[in-house]
Symmetry: C2
Subunit: 198 residues, 2 copies
DNA sequence: GAGCATACGGAGCGGCGTTCCGCTTCGCAA
DNA sequence: TTGCGAAGCGGAACGCCGCTCCGTATGCTC
């Protein structure tokens, strides 16, 4: 919330060298642990992997969510930027929306358990939920509006619902070979299409 | 699994009176606690509400899932029976499927957190997932097949995926007034419809 | 080099699910 | 009615978790 404080002056007093080093070490260690054990891995494991104490993690990343956000920031950014790009690519809006949703889902399913943790009301992860929404909701909304404006889809579904729905569909995929989240999200976007019959 | 043992003879040695009493007490207490705090309520709370010790719960219901199953058995049964009834009611198969899905979703969303816990891979709840599948999957499959046979819907979605998808969409609804699970599941079933265009 | 703000480590707290075992109670048989 | 083995009970205790707190160590500045 008050990370860089934004406002006047330069209140960030520059971190100590060992602190900056540790932060990077933690990010690397967390990334490794997330791949190996999923994003729900015990904080202790991450601390151990990084060779630091518990306190160090919590000082750099006050909540688990902050750590996860930091680890995946780049990829979320890429997903956010893909939205406008797809719209500008000449694809029909609904097709662009579908493609973008696929990207979003791919991002989620390739991170063990990220989806499960991203849903709202999951204690300790509210910040993650918020971050995803802040960053990706406008993108999704833009795609949705374009498709609505083109008359391709129904207008009673909000961007939030679509993202939340797609996210939910990706929960708990890792240990279930019989469930293809991508196809189900495809069903969801297909369901958006305005029925041709009256 | 080996509850009544099914097989020959009568190996169930009839329970003691106090045991039967306690089982009922527990069921009632659990139902109350589930309503008040959701199905993820601490086992201790249920024990306290029932006025029994921890051991008593675990003896009667070896896993949390067993307790939940016992509490909701009637309602699951009703949902299962609604499937054939809807098909026989003269509704078009896809309409019947949609209605049934609504019933299923209603059942899930009216129980705090049931959906979240029903997904596979949730430690301590595997049995619950299994039970829902055993009981409701055939029903869903029957509805799906009828709609497929009528040529109303696409054929590349399995009953399991549909149920799992609907279930997933209901996860974490309780604290999110902006997300209408019923409408999203409606999108899913609408997406099943065979597109009228080539 | 001295002194202090900054950062570190990990013991410790409270909450969870689950197990285990000494004690109590039931109900059958004598 | 009484005695006794088995069935059932309660809750302390264990291990795992996220998270906090504070005595100690370290980097930075003067």
């Amino acid at each position: 919330m008050a990370e860089t404080d934004g406002r006047a002056g330069r209140p960030a007093p520059r971190k100590r060298a060992d602190a900056r080093r540790n932060e990077q070490t933690l990010l690397d260690a967390a990334a490794r642990v997330f791949v190996a054990s999923g994003v729900e891995a015990p904080v202790r494991d991450i601390a151990a992997e990084a060779g630091v104490g518990m306190g160090t993690i919590y000082r750099h990343f006050p909540t688990r969510a902050d750590l996860i956000i930091a680890v995946y920031r780049h990829q979320v950014e890429a997903c956010a930027e893909a939205g406008p790009a797809l719209l500008a690519s000449g694809l029909a809006p609904h097709a662009a929306l579908t493609r973008w949703t696929d990207l979003f889902v791919d991002f989620l399913v390739t991170k063990h358990g990220l989806a499960g943790v991203m849903r709202s009301g999951n204690p300790g992860f509210e910040g993650l939920h918020e971050y995803f929404l802040d960053r990706l909701l406008p993108v999704c909304a833009q795609l949705l509006e374009a498709a609505e404006a083109a008359g391709e889809i129904r207008t009673d579904i909000s961007a939030y619902e679509l993202m939340r729905g797609a996210g939910n569909l990706c929960v708990g995929i890792e240990d279930d070979p019989d469930f293809d989240a991508r196809r189900m999200v495809g069903l969801l976007t297909a369901g958006l299409l305005r029925p041709l019959t009256g």
